[in-house]
């Protein structure tokens, strides 16, 4: 009976999933975001939103120079993503196809996942006594006479923010790439090698194209988390690295929802522009829309 029902409704086929998803998603995600964008055309006075449409908030965003926050955040997030990609892709490749034993793979994956179980602030807070004036690193530098005075740039600058963000977002990059490379058929690689393909050709002609969804996934995960970062910048940047999330929290503490809305809208627009430029530039090699479609094997 169950089978009859599912057949009649075509449940197993799964084509119903997309319209359902788009309907629910529009209601629960798109609609609230549209409402938020509308708010960016209001303004706040004395903790109250004034519901009179104006460009006041947008004007304020640019005239006060606050938009710089979004540019700084993007710059840091992109740098972190690129560094993680440069280290993460080779590592994922080695993990999946480097004749690594299954047990080592299992351990590495577990190690990549565990940090998420632990509250980010407690993971970051321990970096401070390592990097501060009387910390581990400075003690080492002074004891070995590498430096003659404590290095103050080690903490409360942009440097530690980058450094620790690369570390905490590393798993975000490796996990999806590993999954993508792991399912590539070994016989394909062997065939390419038998035909005299160098490791570089195997990488370029087989692994890169076939793992593209994973690579894009890794980039999106890392970029997304890095853009949302608020713990590292405020705990290690010492208030000198003002990023999007912190600026938004600050605006909200004066109940400036319009400013929150304008900042978020602006960063999404910037990202969309970035994506557009990338898509146009890469048009000859990859078409974004095709990456997530079924591959014709």
């Amino acid at each position: 009976m169950m089978r009859n029902l599912t057949q009649r409704l075509n449940l197993g086929d799964g084509r119903w999933a997309l319209p359902c998803f788009i309907g629910v998603w529009s209601l629960l995600v798109i609609a609230p975001l549209v409402v938020l964008i509308v708010f960016s055309f209001f303004q706040t006075q004395y903790f109250m939103t004034v519901y009179k449409p104006s460009l006041y908030t947008w004007n304020d965003l640019f005239s006060s120079g606050r938009f710089e926050v979004t540019l700084r955040t993007l710059r840091i997030a992109l740098t972190v993503t690129l560094i993680d990609l440069a280290i993460g892709f080779p590592f994922a490749l080695w993990l999946a196809k480097g004749k690594t034993s299954r047990t080592v793979q299992a351990i590495a994956l577990a190690l990549l996942t565990i940090p998420f179980f632990i509250d980010l602030s407690s993971r970051i807070i321990v970096w401070r006594p390592i990097l501060d004036e009387h910390g581990l690193i400075n003690n080492f530098l002074l004891a070995t006479h590498i430096a003659s005075a404590p290095q103050h740039w080690l903490l409360y600058t942009e440097w530690p923010v980058h450094f620790v963000m690369v570390i905490s977002n590393f798993p975000m990059m490796v996990l999806p790439i590993y999954m993508a490379i792991n399912v590539i058929d070994d016989t394909l690689i062997a065939a390419c090698q038998d035909l005299g393909g160098s490791p570089f050709r195997v990488l370029r002609d087989i692994i890169l194209p076939l793992s593209l969804p994973g690579i894009l996934g890794g980039i999106v995960f890392t970029l997304g988390s890095a853009l949302a970062a608020w713990v590292e910048p405020s705990m290690l940047g010492g208030g000198f690295v003002d990023v999007l999330s912190n600026s938004i929290s600050s605006a909200y503490s004066a109940l400036r929802v319009p400013m929150v809305a304008a900042l978020s809208t602006f960063v999404v627009v910037l990202l969309a522009l970035l994506l557009l430029i990338l898509t146009l530039a890469m048009r000859r090699f990859v078409r974004f829309g095709e990456v997530f479609r079924s591959m014709k094997s």
């Binding site: 903790f47 519901y51 006060s64 606050r66 103050h152 208030g239 003002d242 909200y252 503490s253 004066a254």
Partner: protein, 399 residues
């Protein structure tokens, strides 16, 4: 459209709640909202929502004394989140008491979220003996002159310093200028300032006003122009390398002091106490200042919906408890914070055989607060030009 979002309709909103469609009702039932309301009316439980600073470490102390169970939902000290929650979350439908730093009553009171205090209520027995400085301060009286709340705790905040490093009297009793924190070559690169606009900007404004470096009327409530002058000064100091860091948490305040990263910091008083546990007594002094203090207080406000729930007597008993000796003694012991009727706290400690040291400390807290409260200024969480101040503060952070 306009009315729908404004707080004028806070009560109307809750009235509308009753006529909500099936969807709303289902959600209310699902979250147990109705069950909670029924509970509150009959039991001896008082439900409070507010900042965790006002919490007793263990509310069972109060339960033993009053026979009232406290159900406390904590919030952070972020005023935006708190106001949004009280204004628009309909928290008054389930909560009896709101506790927050002074200032919110200026907005939430007139807009109907808080119930005016009846100072003649029979359970508010300590009201007449409570000093005016506490019961008529800007923490509990609104800008409209109405009594919106009762006092809970308070303090005069300044900064902590390591006396030997900045060359002042190590007994910590001398008045030190805010300039030592903001504007001194002795502390350049060795000072930490708070990262948030509502805590840091008013103190800097106080310093500029007192030294005549800028014309500022009320440091607690500066105008946009005044805030710009303060931020101009702070940007210059930041560029001169005055600040080692802009700190943003209680833990970081302790860490900066105990690890010797800074010599002076505008921290909360408990952070100095915590640091001294490691560095030794009086290693960090919490400053008496030349210019004045960031004087703050927590008020307890009654949710307007509680008027019809039938447990007002219990609610007033709890408000009274916040002004009584037991609560006073525990708050002073655990955080070093004062409040109204400190003498009752001392009496409570003596009656309950607290150690001589602890009693002496309670007395010292009284003396300290009396001395500090002589000077300006009373802070508010809701400055009139919050949006302009916040904008200016972002300029400081981005500079």
């Amino acid at each position: 459209m306009k009315d729908r979002f404004s707080t004028h309709t806070q009560l109307e909103l809750s009235r509308r709640d009753m006529f909500k469609g099936a969807l709303g009702l289902a959600a209310v039932a699902a979250t147990g909202g109705l069950a909670q309301q029924a509970d509150a009316a009959e039991s001896t439980t008082v439900r409070a929502y507010g900042v965790t600073t006002a919490q007793l470490t263990d509310w069972s102390v109060m339960q033993k004394s009053l026979g009232i169970t406290m159900n406390y939902t904590g919030s952070n000290n972020d005023v935006g989140v708190y106001m949004q929650a009280v204004m628009q979350s309909g928290l008054g439908n389930s909560e009896d008491i709101f506790i927050f730093e002074g200032g919110t009553q200026n907005i939430l009171g007139p807009h109907g979220a808080y119930l005016p205090i009846d100072v003649n209520q029979k359970e508010l027995t300590l009201w007449s003996r409570t000093p005016d400085a506490w019961k008529h301060s800007g923490v509990v009286v609104g800008s409209d002159g109405k009594q919106w709340g009762t006092p809970v705790i308070g303090n005069a905040d300044s900064f902590g310093y390591i006396a030997s490093k900045i060359g002042v009297n190590p007994n910590g009793l001398d008045d030190v200028s805010w300039g030592m924190l903001l504007d001194s070559d002795k502390t350049r690169g060795r000072a930490a300032f708070d990262q948030t606009w509502n805590y840091s900007l008013p103190s800097a404004a106080l310093y500029l006003k007192a030294t005549g470096k800028a014309k500022i009327d009320n440091p607690g409530d500066p105008t946009g122009e005044e805030a710009r002058a303060v931020v101009d000064f702070l940007v210059a100091r930041k560029k001169a390398g005055q600040f080692r860091t802009l700190e943003n948490s209680f833990e970081q305040q302790i860490q900066l002091l105990t690890n010797g990263e800074v010599d002076i910091i505008n921290c909360w008083e408990p952070a100095a106490r915590e640091a001294n546990k490691k560095l030794g007594p009086n290693a960090v002094c919490y400053a008496y200042t030349v210019e004045g203090y960031y004087k703050w207080g927590h008020g307890a406000y009654i949710a307007s919906q509680a008027a019809s729930r039938g447990n007002l007597d219990n609610i007033y008993k709890v408000l009274n408890y916040f002004m009584d000796g037991e609560y006073r003694a525990y708050q002073a012991r655990d955080r070093g914070y004062a409040g109204p009727n400190m003498d009752l706290g001392v009496a409570y400690a003596q009656a309950h055989n607290w150690s001589a040291d602890q009693i002496a400390e309670l007395k010292a807290t009284q003396v300290k607060v009396d001395r500090k409260f002589q000077k300006p200024f009373v802070s508010t969480t809701t400055p009139s030009h919050a949006d302009a101040i916040e904008d200016e503060w972002q300029r400081f952070l981005n500079a």
